[in-house]
Symmetry: C2
Amino acid sequence: MTNFIILTYIFLDTMQITLAGEYALRAMIFLSSQGVGVKCTIIDISKAKRIPEMFLRKIIPLLCKSGLIISKKGKSGGIFLARDPNKITPLDILEAVDGPIYLTKCINDKNFCQEVEWCSVHSIWNEILVEMRNKLSQKSIVQIAVESEKRKLLHINKLNS
Amino acid sequence: MTNFIILTYIFLDTMQITLAGEYALRAMIFLSSQGVGVKCTIIDISKAKRIPEMFLRKIIPLLCKSGLIISKKGKSGGIFLARDPNKITPLDILEAVDGPIYLTKCINDKNFCQEVEWCSVHSIWNEILVEMRNKLSQKSIVQIAVESEKRKLLHINKLNS
DNA sequence: GTTAATATGACAAATTTTATCATATTAACA
DNA sequence: TGTTAATATGATAAAATTTGTCATATTAAC
């Protein structure tokens, strides 16, 4: 007997960054701020980063499938980073959850636009996409976590002074 | 008696480029390829650019309200460009239809994210947005129409040779 | 007044996103 | 071996957004 597993849940044809993607970013930044190999539960993360728990439970397996985190079932189970977060970028995370990002039907759906070959708007969209993917993969989530922490302290100091 | 007119139709809080936006681009590029002041009907445009007529009828008024085109009702009415298409960019058109573009809830919804002040992901989104708006306003729709036409000819020549 | 065009508002359909729940699975440990 | 505490999965619901249609109103030319 053969089993066909159809993986369509959440991982759809998104043109945009979804909430799920943003939650995943938060979750991963949290994990990397905890340190490599430190195990957390989904509840920990959802509380710390204000992510609806049940929704996070749908997102976590996607991060597992992409090899960004490892999850352990069972008592004393949990979630931890699968690899060096210095080498994980926001792009990795967003694509794990939202699938390949793109911006318009135009550059993604061959049936939608019959002028792909020459239409000059396509080049603009493609350039934007390249630039977007660049920026989303320039910093690791560690850098982001560290920078954010610094700014947070500055911010708090400013409030107190 | 006071009338409150609520303008929410289509013009919503979009994070993405909608189909409506892409159709609007097509329509405007068509108009600019026809020449300034040349009147077209909605049916002309919908046929030429394969846009569902009734949907286009919802989009056209948005382009009017933004002052990109002028529409005339009545017999021998129609649509024509309101200003020099050399000074109209894709950004003008997309924002006329989709409203201000942005990418994530994160940088747009104060309630969604309480870490706006310091979170380093925000800066990335903002940079991407700036870059995106830049690219979408670098070329006029005339330039785009001309470039596309050139490429189209090249493409046809290649097929025939 | 007839005709031919756009405008508007109500609404319907489709799609996508967000969210929840019940159940299954897994592993530690007493 | 059973209990407990964690994640995984699949069904489904709810909400939001986008796409599309229709009937009616408005407008202007002739």
